[in-house]
């Protein structure tokens, strides 16, 4: 070998044991608190992210049970209007911004680097930063709720109800600033994923060999990048209206209240596909593994993802069909919303074809996929229904829409997610979850879910609006509401059983082999859980299913340095190696930067000067973060 610098050690001449020892020394996170706070390992951060998101799921679920308690009877007085409004706002905000979007990104943080065969995510420190920002945003929201200043304006915070005139106090500001926290972290993760997928794929993993889950996360990340700026602009304008007296949404001074709705839904509609597309990727992965054949129509699946991503930006007005926009324009949005059934249908049909041609194996992850098919297609159908303008004028803002979006969110995203957790749990923890409990969990959730949410369609058609804290006894809704609330208990038991199983299995589940399901993607080519460096040698790929070619032999690359964190940079299209690049080591600075940013953002709810003064510590933290420390990772 030429050009080796002094002290530059390569993986070439070492035996496996020695190589593993050296790689561990270079890559592993030190034990102890300091290590935990400064780690940049995508697996540790990914696990942390997933766990946090599931805590928020449980909290949000508990809120939904409170709502169901209140709604079980007419004119119930368990929860007053003020608290109820906080609760449904918290439930929606928490589920969308603190659970659904982050959990999907979290799965990607853990899985994408493994699935593309690299050693860490791109910009690992940014990754650490994004977790801290996410955590701070979540804490902000929940602490505010505990102090009775939780937002109470609904998860889309329509002005003027959330504006300076009608939302006194800091509740709406907390909502708007929580948005900033979660958007910053979501955007950061999106950038990391895009760059990881573009530049860190295993040699040979050309575009047509990228696993479908990775494709789905790539498209999702672009959706985030293009959609989230809209909500950032909207929430900033809202804070400015509230804090320094701008007039963006004030019709008396040339502003407009529908401007808010346009900006929100220009983000909000893509948001639902940001939640759904990763689930699509999970379904594809699970279907391939449990039918023992590749997903039918790879190219079609990828095109469907991209088409959904593009169409997603042309639908936002379907949330505003009764706001009083010109009818002709609305018809266009009916057409575009209906059109999205085509890529969605294509995906469903491809999975059906896969199952048709494959050998289904009914393990828990696959059960969740079957549940997904049943439930999501109903949700999609009701989506097509509300896409029709006249239809929507009757069911908009009623429990029919509540039913629609729980069918697509819970059925279309949470079911695949839980299937994915059962599927990848061995990889995350090195232990299997219980198959018996898994079946029970699925059964309870599937039954409980349909019993809870199907009747809501009927309630909606019977005229029950959403977001009402109670209803009058003479309305014909009490029977169904009681039924729904009781069914929600079954659903909750299902979730509870899932949590019990996950916690128990993480501690004492049976040990998992490297590849328990006989799957064919790269994350299974390393031990469960993977070592800090992911792969002893970076894999080289020559097909869509790298582990199918020869189950016992993994083609790999050698020649990387092991005395610094090093990985391979490959070209965007063909994944031809271009460079051996270093990957940044652990650092505490992301935490400081997140702390400084958090203080600034929260302080700025109270005074605009916080932005000026707060930018100083933020700048210091960022300079500390990027200033060279003279470590080997900075070699070039």
């Amino acid at each position: 070998m030429t050009r080796h610098k002094e002290g530059d050690r390569r993986d070439t001449a070492l035996n496996d044991a020695e190589l593993q020892r050296c790689l561990t020394a270079t890559w592993s996170t030190p034990a102890g608190l300091w290590g935990a706070l400064s780690t940049v390992d995508h697996k540790i951060i990914g696990r942390r992210y997933i766990t946090t998101a599931f805590v928020f799921l449980a909290l949000g679920g508990v809120l939904s049970l409170l709502m169901r308690l209140q709604l079980a009877q007419p004119e119930a007085r368990f929860i007053g209007p003020d608290r109820y409004n906080q609760i449904f706002t918290m439930h929606g905000t928490n589920m969308m911004f603190l659970f659904a979007v982050p959990v999907m990104q979290a799965m990607a943080i853990y899985l994408v680097p493994l699935m593309v065969g690299t050693r860490n995510i791109a910009f690992p420190r940014l990754n650490a930063f994004s977790y801290w920002m996410y955590l701070a945003g979540g804490l902000l929201l929940w602490v505010a709720f505990a102090l009775d200043v939780g937002p109470d304006v609904g998860w889309f915070a329509y002005v003027p109800l959330s504006g300076p005139q009608y939302a006194a106090g800091k509740r709406a500001d907390i909502w708007a600033q929580m948005i900033t926290f979660t958007e910053v972290s979501a955007l950061a993760v999106a950038v990391e994923i895009v760059v990881t997928v573009f530049k860190q794929r295993a040699p040979g993993m050309s575009l047509d060999r990228i696993p479908l889950f990775v494709w789905s996360m790539l498209v999702t990340s672009f959706l985030i990048i293009l959609a989230m700026p809209a909500i950032m602009i909207a929430s900033t304008a809202l804070i400015l209206d509230r804090l320094v007296g701008t007039h963006f949404f004030n019709p008396a001074e040339g502003g407009d209240v529908l401007l808010w709705q346009h900006l929100f839904w220009f983000f909000g509609h893509p948001e639902v596909y940001i939640i759904f597309l990763p689930a699509v990727g999970m379904v594809s992965t699970i279907v391939a593994t449990f039918t023992r054949r590749p997903v039918f129509g790879y190219l079609g699946m990828v095109m469907a993802l991209i088409a959904t991503g593009i169409l997603a930006f042309g639908l936002w007005v379907h949330h505003m069909f009764v706001a009083g926009l010109p009818r002709l324009g609305e018809s266009f949005f009916t057409a575009s919303s209906m059109a999205i059934a085509v890529p969605a249908g294509l995906q469903i049909f491809c999975w059906l074809a896969t199952m048709w041609a494959g050998r289904p194996i009914f393990k828990t992850p696959f059960l969740f996929v079957i549940g997904f098919m049943v439930i999501f297609v109903i949700g999609g159908m009701t989506g097509v229904m509300v896409a029709s303008v006249p239809f929507d004028t009757q069911v908009h803002d009623t429990y029919f829409v509540v039913a629609h979006f729980h069918y697509v969110l819970v059925g279309g995203a949470v079911f695949p997610l839980l299937g994915a957790i059962y599927y990848w749990f061995p990889k995350f923890t090195g232990r299997m979850m219980s198959e018996t409990l898994g079946r029970w969990t699925f059964g309870l959730m599937f039954t409980g879910f349909n019993l809870t949410f199907f009747p809501m369609h009927i309630l909606g058609l019977q005229g029950m609006p959403r977001r009402i804290y109670t209803y009058q006894p003479e309305m014909p809704w009490s029977g169904l509401n009681m039924f729904i609330s009781l069914s929600a208990i079954i659903l909750a038991l299902g979730f509870l059983m899932f949590f019990v199983d996950a916690i128990r299995s993480a501690r004492s589940g049976s040990a998992a082999p490297a590849n328990p399901w006989g799957a064919l993607t790269l994350e299974w080519a390393t031990s469960s859980p993977p070592p800090a460096y992911n792969f002893m040698h970076l894999p080289v790929v020559s097909s869509l299913e790298p582990l199918a070619d020869d189950p016992d032999i993994l083609p790999v690359a050698s020649g990387l340095r092991i005395d610094r964190r090093e990985l391979l940079i490959t070209s965007v299209v063909q994944a031809v190696p271009e460079a051996r690049e270093s990957s940044p080591g652990d650092s505490i600075w992301p935490l400081w930067a997140a702390a400084a940013t958090s203080v600034t953002l929260i302080w700025s709810i109270f005074t605009p000067w916080a932005v000026v003064w707060g930018s100083i510590p933020v700048a210091i933290a960022l300079i500390g973060w990027f200033w060279p420390k003279g470590v080997v990772e900075e070699d070039a």
Binding site: P81, P160, M385, P390, M475
Partner: protein
């Protein structure tokens, strides 16, 4: 006459479950009937599509169960099946788009000449303003809209504060009341009756108690009602009511409410000129009776927590008098 009519209405009210129907699938107005047909059509089509997908799912799962080894499936025919299914999807969604477009066209828009009623949403009640038609003076009421049967009525929807949404499902789809804008909704009842509606856009604390009644009556009955509403309040003949009027005018009530024919000209609350003739109180919350009036006035914050009417300190006697007075404002 009026008493007879009110009596009839009360019976109708009791029969129809006190508040009238509020269901999109029980339509009695032109627009709602069109939409109900569309709803049934779309649900049927989508339902069939769902069943077909489920049948395929079951077939696919049962077919491969217990199969061993990779069977050679004909990828060609699979591909053809998928393409066919996508093509069918395209056709269906195109048909649904066209049919919903024609339903919108079929509902149409109210002619500018149609009878116009302005509805202003307020946190958490409906201000209803009848424009003057010809020699008749305009008048105002709240939470209860009377319309003649079989005629197009043009609602002009405005908001005084936040966004609300006017929705009487049996008559028409909903339409938002947006501050700074004015939206139009076509309302039409084919049959006489009491149609309940409810604010559909979240508007704050009492969004759940912001109902509205639309009372559709034969044109002659409607005209009689309108003539009555145009009148100013009568001077109460009964002494207790007379005392009640004095209390009303002397207390802060008059600062918020208008009673035409008296010195009460407040604008923050509903016009109470004919409050006694309305079927319900506080936006559909309770039936109007002397007792419910007294309960409301004594403590509006318990009846409807967070609403914008404060509790005004009254002695028991004053409360009695005032509710008698209110009840008499037919």
């Amino acid at each position: 006459m009026r008493i007879v009519r009110n009596g009839l209405l009360a019976v109708a009210l009791a029969v129809s479950g006190c508040s009238g129907n509020q269901s999109a699938m029980d339509p009695d107005g032109g627009p709602a009937i069109h939409i109900a047909h569309l709803i049934i059509g779309i649900v049927a089509v989508c339902g069939v599509a769902w069943v077909l997908v489920m049948v395929m799912l079951a077939a696919a799962l049962l077919r491969g169960r217990g199969r061993t080894g990779r069977e050679i499936t004909n990828e060609r025919s699979l591909m053809r099946a998928v393409i066919a299914a996508v093509a069918v999807t395209v056709v269906i969604v195109a048909a649904l788009t066209v049919s919903s477009f024609f339903t919108t066209r079929g509902i149409g828009v109210p002619e500018p000449a149609a009878m116009t009623i302005t509805v202003r949403g307020q946190q958490w009640w409906w201000q209803v303003m009848y424009a003057d038609s010809g020699p008749n003076a305009s008048f105002e009421t709240a939470n209860e809209i009377h319309i003649p049967v079989g005629r197009d009525v043009r609602l002009e929807l405005q908001s005084a504060d936040v966004i609300h949404s006017f929705w009487v499902p049996s008559l028409a789809g909903k339409q938002d009341l947006v501050p700074g804008r004015s939206n139009i909704l076509l309302l039409r009842a084919e049959k006489p009756g009491i149609y309940r509606g409810q604010c559909a856009e979240f508007c704050g604390l009492q969004h759940g108690h912001m109902a509205v009644l639309v009372i559709a009556e034969a044109p002659a009955d409607y005209e009689r009602w309108a003539a009555g509403q145009r009148q100013t309040a009568l001077l109460p003949s009964n002494p207790e009511a007379l005392a009640g009027q004095a209390v009303f005018l002397g207390k802060p009530c008059a600062a918020c409410h208008t009673i035409r024919g008296t010195s009460a000209h407040g604008k923050t609350g509903p016009d109470l000129t004919h409050i006694g003739s309305r079927l319900t109180l506080a936006a559909g919350l309770v039936e109007t009776t002397r007792g419910s009036l007294a309960a409301w006035i004594a403590d509006p914050q318990t009846v409807k927590p967070g609403n914008n009417m404060p509790t005004v300190a009254l002695t028991g006697v004053e409360l009695q008098q005032i509710s008698t007075y209110m009840e008499g404002l037919k």
